[in-house]
Amino acid sequence: MMDMTSSKDGQSPPNSKKTSKKPKYSKFSQQELPAWKPFLTPGWVIATFTAIGIIFIPIGLASLFSSGKVVEAEFRYDETCLSPDVAKDAVAYIKSDTTNKTCTHKWIVEQKMQAPVFIYYQLENYYQNHRRYVKSRNDKQLWRKSAELQTDHCDPVDKTEGKEPIVPCGLIAWSMFNDTYKFSIDNKDLTINKKNIAWGSDKNSKFGHEVYPKNFQSGGLIGGAKLNESVPLSEQEDLIVWMRTAALPTFRKLYGKIESDLEVNDEIEILIQNNYNTYEFQGRKKLVLSTTTWIGGKNRFLGVAYLCVGGLSLFCAIGFILLYVVKPRPLGDPSYLSWNRNPGILK
């Protein structure tokens, strides 16, 4: 017996040391934190699917309705503007400085378009999202006059042959769209408002008030539009719009707004200056006029998708209701435990 006590005495110092290794109890360390343990009861399943259906179908209907209210008209003009004699060598025609590139298009308004009517140009098969194209710009140079020498990433449109910096440099600016449109009803010109077609933040914070175009389109290769060297970049809204690179090879960009209603049967004459060379890469050019609503332009897909998802969801809800009726399973019924269902496998 004494033996025991002595050994206990011998152990007590290490004991006190060892107790420090005892894990401290907390709900966290013992993984016993209070928890919400949801699971899908039939009620929840049906309610969820029904709720999705009930929310989605009205949204779908509303956006379809809105999309239906949008009036949109579009003409492809890159082909129609080529007279048959130049159609064989469209590239030479478009590249030549001397040829007359105006063409007219007559259009009768089929549906009333309420102001503002947005004018877009649409390019197709035009890869503005190519990596090296997207990279080919210098934001610093666009914003500050002092940074005009910064032409990194702009190669090959960074400097003139005389090593003068080009402002704005880079392929994006260089390839700027330069077709122009004029609209007239009964020989009376419609005014096109080209103000505020770009994002406000771009005008105010990305394109400088004191930065003026310099040495632009003066090199050997002429790209697209020329810029007025007396207008600061922040005022060049066409450039700002163009410099927002599009995500897909088919894209529209805002050209301007007509701030008067277009009535049904108005005959509008459109004068197109067909300058931009898309013939070399089988690109297509379109002119689009469109009104907008809260969801933007005409797009039936959003509404249809909402209706589909909502409909499927309702269908699932009905399906589950039927399944629960046909084959109900009481919740927490132990007879569904695997050892009760397959007595052969488990005991």
Binding site: D3, L33, N129, R131, W143, W199, T245
Partner: protein
């Protein structure tokens, strides 16, 4: 800089593509898994229920990369000494002169008897109608199981009490009839006296006086012998001195407690060898009488009894069987009175043999000893408990119910191993023991090939026997020794051996070397292809701990080698249950779900990048801002997935322990099979298609705002990214079933973080934010179509998964689903009997473990009852 050289161009393009498509290969998965595993390991270390108060050691996950394998273990290979047992022998019971002394009958019998009793009560007292009664007994099954549960509980607690009572090391005997000289009132006083004297005299130990206490401690060859001497001391026969020729004892034979010192002249000592399985001493007592006192294995002693020495044979045999069944080590004690003449004649022979020189000296000695150890008179038998570590039988029982196979690999001799097999319930009476051995005599004569053929033959016969067995309850145990194992592990035999071993309910390998332990582990690991776990405590287990998929070391007692080599260390074998059934199960499911989800998330994200490439002429332009891509795996989706991997619990730890069958989800790999992985990948593919093409079609060309502006690269990419963040985070919330505030914070916080990031990024100067400048505030935020797209894409992405899990839970629910429901509706509290019934049914069909043993006993008793019944039925017409 435009690359001027084609090689350069190609290289840079390749690298761009690698970076972009890198999201398809979830490299961040490795990082997240590491983080998760380390945190899981911390939880294992922190588990207070795996902390051993006695030694002051917590569990320690020494490597963190095996957590999930803890949930997939198929076979446990365990060392014996130090792991299952404490290496301490307790004198527990004895049978003297045909009377059984020592408290508590076998636990198994107790449990079975009670169960049967309640069975009869609940059933029907109308015994004449047996089939009906039997059916009713089936109906009342739940009550029986309740009793069963209670039984197990009480067994555990009563064990605990016992442990506290027995302060004397090596002595667990409890019976007042023999203590404090009460035995003097027993009928067979002489035999009892002799019994105690044999205990006190027949040994080779040396006493050591403890200066402080004045008592003796004993240096004995084996712990058994030590416990005999302790027992003798407690009975009042204290062995106190040994000289060259004498043994001295202090005997207290009168009730007054007077102590008499007696001297026994030691004439001869016939040693214990493993072959003889007995030892004897020849002593002359103070009265001058010569005695041969002999103790040995019961079978050996019984063969050598004289005709008039068999008085207690029958009773003793019965007791020995009981002891054996409980896993106690038994020895029979006997004596023989010698005449002076008889002794001196024999002694001459013996001295001659002793003096002989040469190869046959041993044989001669043995033969001479043999002549003397005859005509013995049986006094009684002892039962010694090889003390198991705390909670070992219960732990083995639970592990067996969880469907794990348990092999014992021990360096001990076969008898010890079998005893431990019994006390751990790895073996039981009625189990067919297949002993594969080599006949040691023939080793020298036979060639190696012949031995091997012999072993192969034994293996084939045994396999055949198992195949032909009809009884579904028949259980087989394979016992093999080290020498045989050398042959059985050779390349051409090992597969047959493994085949046999796998068919057996328990496998015990004894007398195995450390190297063989490792080889056996390797055989199981490679032969079955399943996860093995080796557990051991000593340096001799290092080999097998390293060889196994998971090595577990018992820390604390036998040095640090095993712990140093192990992957996990625990202080007690019983903690293995919690380590595997709770932590293993959780970790397996967490990691499995986490990996699947990770695949989903990265495929959903990576593929959208890939689709966009098709629209950019594969130029390497990404639709997302570089920062979005960096943040995607770093902070926008990583924390929810980590919280899934660290905190998810399908059921609570108590339920894991109550329903051991849930563990089988791991070894069966239900949560990480190809069906599931491919399903998640397909889900990822679907989400990527929905998000990419949905967004593209919505933002295609027309104005996306009332102001007429069309979308650009930045607004399209940001919308797409918003959809992905919503979809993957909603998806993970559907995968989880356990939300603490941490999960809520991480999941919903991730979504909020995305908007906050977008706002902050947009607020930076345009030099830093480029096209994202004021994007949310100015362009996307005011556009209803942006929010509408987010809602649509999110719901469309999770819809199929929602349908899938709703359908699955309703029509083919898994076990944890049902248990979650039971827990949620508190059915376990309302209907406790159902809960107890289910938890007792929730186990793999196993033939080992305490519960299996109780069931076997019940079957046996029922069988008897049935026979009796039919016998009565036959008789009854005659009676009436």
């Amino acid at each position: 800089m435009i690359p001027r050289h084609l090689e350069w161009l190609g290289m840079s393009h390749l690298i761009t593509a690698l970076i972009l498509y890198g999201y398809l290969i979830p490299i961040s998965l490795y990082v997240s898994i590491e983080v998760v595993k380390v945190l899981q390991a911390t939880f294992i270390n922190q588990d207070i229920l795996m902390y051993d108060e006695e030694t002051g050691t917590p569990a320690d996950a020494r490597t963190s990369n095996l957590n999930e394998e803890l949930g997939q273990v198929d076979t446990i290979l365990s060392d014996k000494t130090g792991t299952l047992t404490c290496n301490q022998m307790d004198f527990l019971k004895c049978s003297i002169a045909g009377t059984q002394y020592g408290a508590s009958s076998s636990e198994v019998e107790l449990a079975a008897a009670k169960q049967i009793a309640s069975d009869l009560e609940d059933g029907d007292s109308d015994l004449s109608n047996f089939p009906l009664r039997h059916r009713k007994a089936q109906v009342s099954w739940e009550n029986i199981d309740k009793v069963d549960e209670i039984e197990l509980e009480t067994v555990v607690t009563s064990k605990g009490d016992e442990d506290q009572k027995h302060a004397i090391k090596g002595f667990g005997f409890e019976d007042d009839r023999l203590m404090n000289c009460n035995w003097l009132q027993e009928p067979n006083v002489d035999d009892i006296l002799l019994f105690f004297r044999i205990l006190a005299v027949c040994h080779t130990a040396i006493p050591e006086l403890n200066e402080e206490t004045g008592g003796f401690t004993y240096e004995a060859e084996s712990p058994d012998e030590g416990s005999f001497l302790v027992a003798a001391r407690e009975f009042g026969f204290e062995f106190c001195r040994r000289t060259q020729s004498s043994i001295f004892t202090r005997e207290r034979i009168s009730a007054s407690g007077q102590v008499v010192e007696r001297e026994y002249k030691l004439l001869n000592l016939l040693d214990f060898t493993s072959k003889r399985k007995r030892m004897s001493v020849i002593v002359r007592d103070e009265e001058g009488q010569i005695f041969l006192l002999c103790k040995g294995a019961d079978s050996i002693i019984f063969d050598r009894l004289s005709k008039n020495g068999k008085a207690y044979l029958e009773a003793t045999t019965k007791h020995l069987n009981d002891y054996g069944e409980t896993g106690l080590r038994t020895l029979a004690l006997s004596y023989r009175r010698l005449e002076e003449k008889e002794y001196s004649d024999w002694n001459n022979e013996f001295q001659k043999a002793k003096a002989a020189v040469g190869a046959d000296r041993e044989a001669m000695l043995e033969r001479v000893s043999d002549i003397m150890e005859k005509e013995l008179i049986l006094v009684g038998a002892t039962a010694i408990e090889d003390k198991l570590q705390k909670g070992v039988p219960q732990c083995i029982d639970k592990l067996a119910q969880a469907g794990l196979k348990i092999w014992v690999l021990t360096g001990d001799k076969m008898e010890t191993a079998i005893n431990i097999g019994f006390s751990c319930s790895l073996l039981r009476q009625g189990m067919k023991q297949i002993c594969i051995t080599t006949n040691s005599d023939s080793v020298s004569n036979d060639t190696k090939q012949a031995i091997k053929d012999n072993i192969l033959n034994q293996i084939t016969n045994a396999t055949q026997m198992i195949k032909l067995e009809k009884d579904p309850h028949a259980a087989f145990a394979l016992i093999i020794d080290g020498k045989t194992l050398t042959y059985a592990l050779e390349d051409d035999v090992k597969l047959q051996f493994l085949g046999l071993a796998v068919d057996c309910a328990s496998v015990i390998c004894c007398r195995v070397s450390p190297k063989q332990k490792a080889l056996v582990v390797r055989l199981v690991k490679q032969g079955t292809g399943k996860t093995t776990l080796a557990i051991g405590d000593g340096a001799n287990d290092v080999g097998m701990i390293q060889e196994a998929d998971i090595g577990v070391g018992i820390s604390g007692v036998e040095g640090m080698q095993a712990v140093m080599a192990s992957d996990f260390s625990i202080a007690q074998f019983r903690f293995l249950e919690r380590l595997l059934v709770v932590h293993g199960h959780w970790c397996y499911k967490r990691i499995a779900q986490m990996i699947c989800y990770f695949f989903y998330k990265n495929i959903a994200f990576g593929l959208t990048i890939f689709y966009f490439e098709a629209y950019t002429g594969f130029s390497g332009q990404s639709v997302y801002d570089d920062w979005y891509m960096i943040l995607f795996n770093v902070c926008l989706t990583s924390l929810p997935v980590i919280s899934l991997g660290v905190f998810e619990q399908d059921v609570s730890s108590e339920v894991c322990l109550q329903f051991p069958a849930l563990y089988q989800q791991g070894p069966k790999n239900l949560f990480f099979d190809w069906y599931r992985i491919l399903g998640w990948m397909a889900n990822g593919l679907y989400s990527s298609v929905v998000i990419f093409f949905g967004t593209v079609l919505i933002f295609y060309e027309q104005a996306f705002r009332v102001d007429g502006q069309t979308s650009d690269l930045a607004s399209l990419g940001t919308t797409m990214f918003t959809c992905i963040i919503w979809a993957v985070n909603c998806q993970i919330s559907l995968t989880m079933s356990h939300f603490t505030w941490i999960q809520h914070l991480f999941i919903w916080g991730s979504i909020v973080t995305w908007y906050l990031f977008l706002m902050m990024y947009g607020a930076l100067s345009p030099n830093l934010s480029h096209s994202a400048y004021h994007l949310l505030i100015e362009a996307l935020g005011p556009a209803p179509i942006y929010w509408a797209t987010t809602l649509l894409a999110t719901v469309a992405c999770i819809l199929p998964y929602l349908v899938h899990i709703s359908f699955q839970r309703c029509f083919s629910p898994m076990d944890h689903h049902i248990i979650q429901e039971i827990k949620h509706y508190k059915k376990d509290i309302e209907d406790q009997s159902m809960w107890v019934r289910e938890s007792s049914k929730a186990r793999q069909e196993t033939k080992i473990g305490f519960t299996a043993r109780v069931e076997a006993k019940i079957r046996q008793l029922k069988g008897k009852l049935h026979k009796k019944q039919s016998f009565l039925n036959i008789l009854s017409p005659v009676r009436t």
